[in-house]
Amino acid sequence: MNKIYLFKYGLAMLFFFCALSSFAQNVFTGRVLDETNQPLPGATVRVKETGQSTVTDNNGAFTIRNIAQASVTISVSFVGYDVTEKAITQGQSATVQLKPNSRSLTDVVVVGYGTARKSDLTGSVSNVGSKDLNPGPITNPLQQLEGKAAGVDITQSGSEPGTAPTVRIRGITSLQGGNDPLVVVDGVQGNMDLFNQVPPSEIASVDILKDASATAIYGSRGAPGVIIVTTKKSAAGTTTVEYTENSSIDVIAKKLQLLSADQWTQQANAQGVDVSANHGSNTDWYNLLTRNGYTQNYSLAFGGGANGFNYRASLTAISQTGTVINSKFSNYIGRITASQKALDNRLTLTMNLNSGVNDYTYSPTGVGNAAFTSNLISQAYVSRPTDPVFNTNGSYYVDPNVFQYVNPYAVAQTVSNDNHINNLFGSLRADLEIYKGLSAGWFGSWRKRDSNNGYYAPAASTLTSAVSYNGQAHINNDHVDERLMDINLTYKRDFGLNHFDATVVYEWQRQTYNGSYSAARGFINDIATYNALQLGTLANAQTGDVSSYKNDRSLVSFLGRINYSYHNRYLLTASFRRDGATVFGANNKWANFPSASLAWRIDQEDFMKSQHIFSSLKLRVGYGVTGNQQGIGPQNSIALVGLNPTSPTVYFGGSLIPNYSASQNANPNLKWETKKQTNAGIDFGFMDDRLTGTVDVFTANTDNLLYNYTVPVQGPFLVGNILANVGSLQNRGLELTLSYDVIRGKNTRLTLAGNGTLLKNKVLSLGGNIQGYDVPTDYVSLGSNAYLLVGKPVGTYRILQHQGKDANNAETYVDQNGDGTVDPSDRSPDRVEAGQSLPKYNYAFTPSFTYKNFDVSMVWRGSGGNKIYNGLRQQFSILQYLGKSNVLQSAIPLGIESTQYSSDLWLENGAYLRWQNLSLGYRFNLRNVKFVNALRLSLTGQNLALITKYKGLDPELVGSNLSGGDYGIYPRNRTFSVGLNVIFK
């Protein structure tokens, strides 16, 4: 409203002075710079004495004429910066440097292919600034966002070192098409693994584009949402040296209670287990395989700059030792970013170079015989407590009478499973101002990722395959090469009360994947492990020991966006993108993705000026079409012949020859999933923004749902499944974010903040016509008794009801339709619906308190409305297998000898509330100390409490797992950490 006032009266004043004071026409000039000493165009300069005002040009320069006084005080303001006043004198060019205000990061939002002021947003975007990121022992930037944004569900299943959390933005919108959001780091686009390349302490802000009007600009990659990470730039003028470290001790939060050796012996005797199965030892396998873990995170960042130039460099080292022995992770990231102005500040060149190394030592997976293969730690439940760890001769104990017996401690001690990943990406951006308001840009990025995975299991590991062949080794080498280039034009113009800006972009990207796999068996000793496959025994070679691949995918896009606003009250954003992709079928190479959204800043209206209830109020509504092509791999649309995967060699005509067979059906109609989303939202603030909040409601329909449909092998179908776009899925949701400053004093501030999301999801249709054949898909089992059912939420449980036990202690089931038999088939009337695998709601409560230099913050978060099929509890509750394995203590009172089918006895409530984070910090003010500017110490506890009825290790295991089954996870950590942050002078 100031601006309008100024516009009307300022202009009148100007004329007044022009007319009356022609004898005293002083001219004032100057430049406005930002914190990095870059010119700041568009800043408002107002003369306090006269009320005159002007706006800085592209060089940050301003000129004010027709002023009678020889010196005046100007007030310079710009969104995101503190208002600065300065006395200036006629004839002497003044320089005004603005400092970003405390809320600057939340005021400027990075949207796709550009930025916007938060107040101008018309879509649904969550913004998290660096100061709001979760503190503590962070190994992946996603952990910093847990609980921070409504509709953004970040889950972590177990705490295996180096494993990334899963993110779901506004729920599951695809069954097979992938639900991982697109990740954009300083313009470089990539998958979730790009997060491994982002030093957690170098993040300036994270913007999460949630609704289709915001993500449609990313077209066929936008449907699952977009996470945009902006890294820190140096504050120029001064040099910056900043050191951050955090060290934690990680303990296992919960263990399952299995039978002790005495209990096992007692039970085995009671049950008539052959005495030969009792080996008389007393071993706590779980304890033997676990330990306390440590996580360390060090980061050194420095930078600075002069006029037209600034840079920032950082080195980060993250190291984590897991709570399961022989599992660890380390990550080293070096990055440098530099920016230079040229051509009289019309050209800006920005370069970014990022290089990193990830080293993983994974705890082996797929351990055990076919009856129960799992991650290594879950094998500790299998092992009888009466089995010794070692034989008397010091070798690892095995019981030859148990089929494919595994000694988990031997596996942990002897198997190598290492993964080394080298990451390199760089980008160059050139922005050129061609003419007033018109600028052109070029952006190119290149990312290379080389991954090398080595595995060696010696005969001592007790793993059957390794014992059979006296050691086995394999190496995977995988190379990913991602290139992206875009050319863009932007135009900005104000006329009268109208503001207009437009962007058009041409973008080209290609990802190339190639790699190889080789394996060898039969090693005379274990010295070289996987490093010299040629030392294995050639005679032991098997089909499939050698393989390689190469494929690529390209995406070509034309896109544009128009922002229009009138009177700063009515805002319109419209965007359009056309994508062509190599992975689409021949009949559907190009796709269009339009969107439009409107916002009304009610608080700017004249009639709002007199009220004092609302300090801000904005209505938003938007609609957009986005796509998802993650689920389509290269060459998925064409008919292929390959080696038969299960029997690659056939004996024919007297010799062994390769066995080729159709490996994929043709689908020339294969295309992106189409997600049409409508969003309506309201942003509000009461009492001078002491209470602020956002409410969004949305409906999203995913059509052309990608699914690997089961088809009869007949007609055009050469194999029994085809990736096709047939079904549709609906998601509806409500998001609420609230923040209330209970105390907002000079020294004391207490903020209660939180967010919540309600999600409702429904399969609208599944089956349909594929290439002339009806595929009446329904009752699709996702495993663990969770189904895809038309008209029901994804992962609806249909399960037999537990009844009791028969005379032989075999589990019995309720015969729902009373026909005398229990039918376990998918469509059986004996199955009953019993909830869903996906949470219906999740929420977070994030209060924070500061008093002078002391601060406390907490994160509590939870979800619910879902069930979990506790497959692990079922597996270890069946007494029939007691003779060769251990069982849970809870299995004894249950007394079930055998189960024929899975039942709701093992289906449990998955709701939980977790005390995710508690952080205490103290900032030492050291302005008078030489060299050190500031020093902050912090203490953080993570996963301090978990409130849940779930009987397994941890209910947080959904995410990528649609079926909601728990078959054993790596233990979840509870961590306690100390952090230090020093800023040097």
């Binding site: 056939v650 020859i657 998918d826």
Partner: protein
Amino acid sequence: MLSLAAVSCTKVDENVYDKYQSDEFYATPAGADNALATVYGKIAGTWGSNYAGRDNCWYDLNTFVADDQVIPHRNTGDWQLDFAQLYTHTYQPSLGLISNTWNWLYSSIYSANLAVAQLTSANADPSKIAEAKVLRAWFYYLLMDDFGDVPFYTDNNTDVSKIAQTKRATIYNFIVSELKANVDLLSETRGGAYYGRFNKWAGYMFLAKVYLNAGVYIGTPAWAEALAACDKVASGGFTLHAGSANAASPLGYSYFELFGDVCPDDETIMALYLKENVVSGNIYGIRSLNSANGMALIGYNGWNGTIIMNQFYSKFNTNDIRRNQFLVGQQAKGNTTYNPTVSSLISPGAAPNDGIRDVKFFPAAPVDASGASNDFPIYRYADLLLMQAECNVRLGNASAALPFINKVRERAGLTDLTSVTLDNIYDERGFELVFEGHRRQDMIRFGHFEDARELVTSAIPTTHRLFPIPISALNANPNLKQNPGY
């Protein structure tokens, strides 16, 4: 330059570097030829999808439901209940073995249809087309033998998910006419390039099997036709492999070479080539041995699985060389004593060393913990001789049957019979062909399928002569009707 870049960068055609595209692949003669090899690849298959060798498919389904072998649940917790439930006939239609067998057969039929179509359109050698057609008929024979009325199609463009079951008799007629039209086109070569393939003799053996069971399939026996087909096979010049003691042979007798690494050409009519981890593998030896005995005999822990019930074993004559395939009592190696009596099959299960073991397929190299390389005799001359004997008895010509059965007995070290009854033939088939996958069919044909069995308390219903249609197939095709009794 900008527009040039834009033009070259709007191409979005797929690049294929590392795969064969179907149309290119099958357009070559080598590709069409490969279609036939692929059908044979189906017979070997692998876990859950094979005729014999690995587990959980046709062989396991058809043998465990009979009386010549069983895998008991052990009171140490080993072995799931599936196999014992088949033996005791307490299995459910949802049993994975049943759907595995059904799915294996239909996917085999599909590849046979495909091979017929591709070889025909490539104008391939008529013997190859005939071979593909005989293979297809064979899969239908196995299918209707197990399941009765089943969906039938020979053109892959048929919408199988909607077709109803075809009567067993109609499929029988198809098989017979398909064989009559094609068997004589097959190669007469034995062994070599035709080892493991349907040559003319294997084709007639298959026809003889179909006729032999005609009474079961269509209610009207065809003993004369069966005998005529047997005679055709015999004209191929097969002889019994020697039965003499031979220290170099497995288990000390040349006889067991029949079940060794390669099935000998003299007696083998149709073999299944197996080589551990290259072409599937043969688990029947290692699955039976217990761990210590297995380690001592072959260097790998046995699985302590399959046993033969004492009821079956005790019928063997002590002079019978074939009895050497069984391990019972104190063993020379591995500090093991196999106890011939079994206390329980399901709950609480058998004690670890209960049960007589069978190493007819004594593991042949290459061998590892998951199997061995013994080939599997699908059809052999001894089987044919017993079929000839049976047909003669059935046709009321018992004296003509004698030489046939006596040849088999002589090789086994037994004295000649002086008269022969159907019971003699049924028993002799049991002695000669135990563990070879024929027992279920024989028990049904001779009317012994429902006989009392050791440790089985409830009567076996006659409806169990057919397996249930798998639940997954009923789900997929609403026109299918479940077999009675399930």
